[in-house]
């Protein structure tokens, strides 16, 4: 009896497989654009609504939106490119754009996006779309790190809960007041990676890559001094809780559980932190010798070379980045807009957290575009780890990393 059931089940399955097909994706008329995007759960409906308004404004144009998980988007795009089944438009991480542009997969948009429009695009974000002097996309999202601090722990330590430390020296003084080793509470929790260390390098005026992108410059005296500070916060001043260690309490987690009084984090963290009920404030990255400069991350929309209608695609990109949509995006989702005019709509009275991020982004320093960014991170992380745990001096660690990175940039 069970055997018959099993047999029946198999037949049903086979039938489902054979019948449940024919969901064609292929045929595209010139008036259809396919977009692969990686927006999160909150962003997706806002984006869909934007797409709908674009379709209404352009009768006859259909936009096919496919939502991909962030983690699988890059391999999926790369596989699709090998068989020429890529979409017309994709949303990619800023570090992925130079790789695609370098492989000649993207359409150059210089002829389709007028100068007047580019003048309104936030320059820091726009720089991530430039590769070897040409425009390969438009930003749809930009972000950078700021300093989050726990106002309650500040009060307990006798510090002003409305004022974050303005300089690194001040951060050390604050940190010493906030650290209570016996309770496992530390002034600061930091992550280790190149991206998360750029606020240190940038505030010391250390350059990442040479102008032509062939050499890494992080072992300059400024670079060494900047990373020495990160090491000292843990080793010498004892105010950093070792959040970067394997098995250490991760920075987000430590902040939520009030083990770290200050952490660096991006605008994406604001909403989830509010839900935890912690009383927190956001301040600028503490200033170093050359001021307060954060790093830049985010996403760009790109058009693939195979797109039969790049002009229409570019128009959609401009639609997403225009003032109205960016203002709506920023106010609905609490994110940093990529349009300068939309930035002015964010006031510190109505949007206290976001206003700090917007202010911080104005002095942010973007990475020079390189197709090798992920590889550079991989070479950098173990050396930075060695410097942080004291098994190497900062100079030795950065020298080794830079030597390997230069080989990578020169080779191939």
């Amino acid at each position: 009896m069970t055997k018959k059931l099993l047999l029946a089940a198999v037949i049903v399955m086979a039938a489902v497989v054979l019948v449940g097909q024919g969901c064609g994706g292929g045929q595209e008329s010139a008036a259809t654009l396919t977009i692969w995007e990686t927006y999160n759960d909150e962003e997706h409906p806002v984006f869909k609504e934007m797409v709908q308004r674009f379709e209404e404004a352009h009768p006859g144009v259909t936009i096919d939106v496919v939502r991909l998980p962030f983690a699988g988007a890059e391999p999926k795009i790369q596989t699709a490119l090998t068989t020429r089944t890529e979409p017309d438009i994709a949303r990619v991480d800023v570090s992925f754009l130079p790789k695609l542009a370098g492989k000649n997969a993207l359409a150059v948009l210089d002829d389709y996006v007028p100068e007047e429009f580019l003048a309104d695009v936030f320059p820091v974000a726009l720089k991530s779309c430039m590769y070897e002097g040409s425009l390969y996309g438009l930003p749809d999202q930009t972000n950078g790190l700021c300093l989050f601090y726990n106002r309650e722990l500040f009060r307990e330590a006798g510090l002003d809960p409305d004022r974050a430390p303005a300089t690194w020296d001040e951060l050390i003084i604050y940190g010493k007041k906030l650290t209570r080793r016996e309770d496992g509470v530390f002034g600061l929790g930091l992550r280790n990676s190149l991206w998360w260390s750029f606020p240190f390098f940038n505030t010391y005026g250390a350059e990442f890559l040479s102008e032509d992108g062939t050499r890494c410059l992080l072992n300059s005296p400024e670079g060494i001094a900047a990373f020495q500070l990160k090491v000292d916060l843990f080793e010498k001043h004892g105010i950093e809780g070792g959040a970067w260690r394997a098995g250490g309490i991760q920075n987000d987690l430590g902040f939520q559980n009030e083990r770290y009084a200050m952490i660096m984090n991006g605008p994406w963290a604001v909403k989830s932190l509010k839900r935890t009920g912690i009383d927190f404030g956001v301040g600028l990255i503490p200033a170093g010798p050359v001021g307060s400069h954060t790093n830049v991350g985010g996403n760009d929309l790109v058009v693939f070379k195979s797109c039969p209608n790049p002009e229409l695609a570019a128009e959609f990109l401009m639609f997403v980045a225009n003032e109205e949509n960016q203002r709506n995006w920023a106010l609905t989702l609490g994110q940093i807009p990529v349009n300068l005019k939309a930035m002015d709509a964010i006031t510190s009275e109505e949007h206290p957290y976001l206003a700090v991020f917007v202010e911080q982004m104005r002095t942010a320093i973007p990475r020079p575009p390189t197709p090798y960014y992920p590889e550079i991170e991989n070479l950098m992380i173990p050396e930075m780890q060695a410097a942080l745990d004291g098994s190497k001096t900062v100079k030795a660690a950065l020298d080794t990393a830079v030597r390997e990175i230069d080989k990578l940039l020169a080779g191939e």
């Binding site: 999160n40 759960d41 939502r67 391999p75 999926k76 596989t79 559980n257 963290a269």
Partner: protein
């Protein structure tokens, strides 16, 4: 008969050790389940059990995220693939274990060589073929490329080789045809390994992420692992929802193991023959 103290001691040590190991192994499951019942934002709160357990995560996962659809897709794909892959491997394993034919060993070695190539290497060529066949966005694309399973063949052959040929000869002597020998002798004796292979292939397809993602360009064909990946964006992860989705996703595997474990334990009937 008195119980020797050393054996009592041994039992105590054994049980303490096993309990400790079980706690370590089960803790992630425990964390998954309790987190699934927590309010968003409380995923990493210090309290181990949620003070106000909620079903909201499950509700959202099933309604807003369409997990029902992903689940159905996964069931269709994993079940069909596991049934056919196991069937093919059983037939082929029998032939390689008990039959003689031209170049048999060479052919088997050749097949084994293909096992040495990392699976990732196949992704692009397989994708190119699927695309040429026009199978993009179909269940076929998710199932058919994985039906010929050399590992399964290897597993079956090795197991079936240990079944004495005398048993088959005895059946033939009693007048069994080739088909009957296979069905009435070989399959019943191989049930533990068939069940094992079914489980392994089911689990493989249930967990397969990259392939199912790249052959589907429409969300209604996404499977559970692809759906789970949606909870992680560039900088944050919706842990409570992800754990609710994970709870749903482990159900079929847990149920399968629950029912199949007796086959593992039942094990060997091979003592039936005297050499």
């Amino acid at each position: 008969m008195s119980v020797r103290p050393t054996s009592v001691l041994r039992t105590v040590v054994l049980y303490v050790g096993l309990t400790a190991a079980a706690v370590v192994v089960l803790f992630p499951f425990f964390w998954m389940v309790v987190t699934a019942f927590k309010e968003p934002g409380q995923a990493f709160s210090a309290e181990i059990l949620p003070s106000q357990p909620t079903l909201g995560n499950f509700r959202r996962v099933l309604s807003d995220f369409g997990f029902g659809r992903y689940f159905a897709n996964s069931v269709i794909v994993a079940t069909t693939a596991a049934v056919f892959a196991t069937m093919f491997a059983t037939c082929a394993g029998y032939v390689f274990a008990k039959k003689q034919f031209f170049m048999k060993d060479r052919l088997f070695t050749f097949l084994l060589i293909s096992l040495m190539i990392p699976g990732m290497m196949y992704v692009v060529p397989q994708f190119a073929i699927i695309n040429k066949l026009g199978w993009m966005n179909t269940y076929r694309a998710m199932i058919i490329p994985h039906l010929a399973n050399v590992f399964g063949l290897f597993l079956m052959r090795q197991y079936m080789m240990t079944i004495p040929g005398e048993l088959l000869d005895a059946a033939r002597m009693d007048g069994a045809g080739e088909w009957q020998v296979f069905r009435k002798v070989m399959i019943p004796l191989s049930i533990p390994i068939i069940a094992t292979l079914f489980l392994l292939t089911f689990q493989f397809h249930w967990n397969n992420f990259l392939w199912q993602l790249i052959v589907a360009n429409v969300e209604r064909l996404y499977t559970v692992p692809v759906g789970l990946a949606m909870f992680k964006s560039a900088h944050e992860e919706l842990y409570t929802l992800k754990m609710a989705g994970s709870c749903i996703s482990v159900l079929p595997i847990a149920v399968l193991f629950f029912f199949a474990q007796r086959y593992f334990i039942e094990g060997m009937t091979m003592g039936a023959v005297k050499e």
